[in-house]
């Protein structure tokens, strides 16, 4: 991990001055948004397949049970290896993957017994594993840094502060020896404390001592001004490396197995019959979900991560009919939610509504006891934004949105109304009862509609050149006759529509 960071930074400093790089990496906003975007992208692309495989809640289960993996990994680290507990250790990833796969295996075992259904099996297994994890934490691992806040919402806001330092120039340790020009030499009396001898006493014996001798790291040497130039240090947030790797891993997995994932998600029986391995692919997917959940744990906690998996995928599902496009726009919505979510947490809704202004206004009008500072959970705000985007798609999606559906229904009703009038005229035109049935001002009585509704429909049909008015009588134009006979033929006489 450290070596990888070293390589990335070596490349980066070729393009960006170190001061600027450090400024960017210690900017809480930039780091939080970047990590949020990486979390969103890595989860949102897997989320597409979770959603299509109807396994959304499996990601919820896994994001909880990875806690067991984390706890066991901590145990191995602290108890067996004697190292320090570290939330970005590769052991954690292994533990989480194992816990995730265990969840899926146990769920399938319970389900295969045939005694409970899949949802209940999931509901049985994951709280059990989660409970075991909680018991281990509270019983044995009080000193481990895992508080409830971290489990709930993560700590994306302080990710910038948890860094590895990398040095690029003037990195050597500085060793000060007594003959070093900067050595601060002094004399010390070695027999003064005993026998009432003072330093002024001629019997006093002195030795040369060096006040600042020793080994200094480059940073310490600079602080003591022992070297003329500061070391070129870059402070790299640890979560950035892990989330970047996981994002690459997930995107690479989907790029590599796109065809196989598509086939197994749509028709797993055919996939098996064609010689693919849907079960193996499923476990690979679940392993990645676990690894992603545990990597994102640090940033967004184990509960909210489900929203990062599912909401952008659900948004994309409403906006397209093509899997490839869904896989492109789902991460885009994820990243957008991360960006706008950070601003929301800082009090700006999409850059248009400053929430603190609203709070000030509310404070003045209804009184909020002076509570006018908006500063809320970053990860929760990201989820809220993701949901707002989903809501927008739900209402406005061109094909499946509520507005589109309402317009479509209205259009259909209107078309049907038109056909009813045309049919009515067609039926009575040229027959003895025509003057009575087809009088324009009385038509609504025969149709049982309101006069306004009828007048509007007639006006519409006249503009469409389907109907004309002659002597206050409605009549079909030749075009109108063609339309109505076609309608009657296809809708009423042909029986069921052809396949």
């Amino acid at each position: 991990m450290y070596a990888l960071e070293q390589i990335i930074i070596t490349i980066l400093v070729k393009f960006i001055p170190i001061e600027q790089l450090n400024a960017a990496l210690s900017d809480p906003r930039a780091v939080a948004i970047l990590i949020g975007a990486l979390v969103s992208i890595s989860t949102a692309c897997l989320g597409v397949f979770l959603l299509l495989r109807k396994m959304s809640l499996t990601s919820d289960a896994i994001s909880h049970t990875v806690l067991l993996g984390i706890v066991v990994a901590f145990f191995v680290m602290v108890g067996l290896l004697g190292t320090e507990a570290d939330l970005s250790s590769p052991l954690l990833v292994i533990g989480a993957a194992a816990a995730g796969v265990l969840t899926v295996i146990l769920t399938e075992l319970v389900q295969r017994s045939g005694l409970v259904k899949q949802d209940a099996a999931l509901g049985l297994v994951f709280p059990l594993l989660f409970a075991i994890a909680i018991i281990i934490i509270s019983r044995y691992a009080d000193d481990v840094h895992l508080d409830t806040d971290a489990v709930l919402v993560g700590e994306i806001g302080v990710a910038w502060a948890n860094t590895n330092s990398h040095c690029f120039d003037n990195c050597d340790d500085v060793v000060i020896t007594p003959d070093h020009p900067r050595a601060e030499m002094g004399r010390r009396c070695i027999n003064c404390s005993s026998g009432g001898i003072t330093p002024r006493d001629p019997k006093a014996v002195f030795e040369e001592v060096c006040a600042n001798c020793g080994t200094y790291s480059a940073a310490e040497a600079w602080r003591e001004r022992l070297i003329p130039e500061p070391p070129a240090l870059v402070f790299w947030p640890r979560s950035l490396t892990l989330m970047g790797l996981v994002t690459l891993l997930n995107v690479g997995f989907i790029a590599l197995f796109y065809k196989e994932l598509k086939l197994t998600s749509f028709d797993s029986a055919l996939a098996t019959a064609l010689g693919f391995r849907p079960v193996a692919l499923n476990y690979m997917l679940m392993t990645l979900v676990s690894v992603t959940a545990v990597s994102a744990f640090d940033a967004v906690g184990s509960v909210l991560v489900v929203a990062f998996f599912i909401i952008p995928a659900a948004t994309a599902y409403l906006l397209t009919d093509r899997l490839a496009i869904m896989l492109l726009i789902s991460p885009v919505f994820g990243a957008l939610s991360a960006m706008t979510g950070y601003e929301l947490a800082r009090g700006q809704l999409l850059g248009i509504l400053p929430i603190s202004d609203v709070l000030v206004f509310l404070d003045r009008t209804v009184g909020l006891d002076g509570y006018t500072q908006w500063n809320s959970s970053i990860s929760a705000s990201m989820v809220i934004m993701a949901f707002l985007f989903f809501l927008a798609a739900w209402v406005l999606s061109p094909r499946y949105g509520l507005v589109a559906a309402a317009l479509r229904r209205r259009m259909q009703r209107q078309q049907f109304a038109d056909q009813m009038i045309l049919g009515h005229i067609y039926h009575h035109q040229g027959r003895p009862e025509a003057p009575e049935e087809l009088a324009a001002d009385r038509l609504h009585e025969h149709l049982g509609w309101t006069p306004t509704h009828t007048r509007l429909a007639i006006a519409r049909l006249r503009t469409l050149n389907l109907v004309i008015l002659e002597d206050e009588q409605v009549r079909l134009t030749p075009r109108g006759e063609r339309v109505v006979s076609e309608f009657l033929h296809t809708q009423l006489h042909a029986g069921q529509p052809t396949g």
Binding site: L270, L274, G275, D321, L323, G499
Partner: protein, 256 residues
Amino acid sequence: MVNHTNHDDFALDIHDLTVAYNSSPALWDVDLQVPEGVLMAVVGPNGAGKSTLIKAALDLIPRATGDIRFYGQPYARARHLVGYVPQRSSVDWDFPTSVLDVVMMGLYGKLGWFRRPGKRERELAMAALEQVSLSDLAHRQISQLSGGQQQRTFLARALVQDAQLYFMDEPFAAVDAVTERAIVTLLHELRARGKTVIVVHHDLQTVPEYFDWVALLNVQLIASGPTEVVYTEDNLMKTYGGRISTLASSRDRMEV
């Protein structure tokens, strides 16, 4: 045609097949030989194990005993010879994909892992859609298809597999008359090209008209052979009516 076949071999040879779900048999000691080039209906009441027979043949479910060979080979080595049309309801038709994409899935087996379908695969898929008169709808989202169109999409997907033997699980279920005629025409075309087709079928009246071979199944195989020989009142009684007599030998597990 490549000569995959030995003249002594059946297109499908099932020997002593037993499949059990939770220890109750779904298929009991089935021996079935299907010669090459026939159009065979598999008929039997609900729960008779018709779909199970297909799934066991395709290694989709484990079998308790038995041996199944395609042209003398086990399925794992005969995949490229076998095409499969599952029940329409077995997939989610809201899946975000197009008709053409679904048909191309039939070619994934030949492509193997990692290789992506390209221009050639698109052309093959379009040709198959042409055969089932669906080329106009190639780029439609599959959720916008009628039941009959869905069934024809699945047929086109099996056609691109260019198999020697086809399994079709209830292709006539809930389709309109036009699609039913289209499927029958297609089946006869397949037979004319020397293919073997095994169809799970429900409409007993059309069996003699559509199929030249038939297997009557009710957990055990009641009879199989040329339609005019085995599709008799007597055999149908044994399969459907005489439930107790046919099952007396396989324990009284099915009172349903």
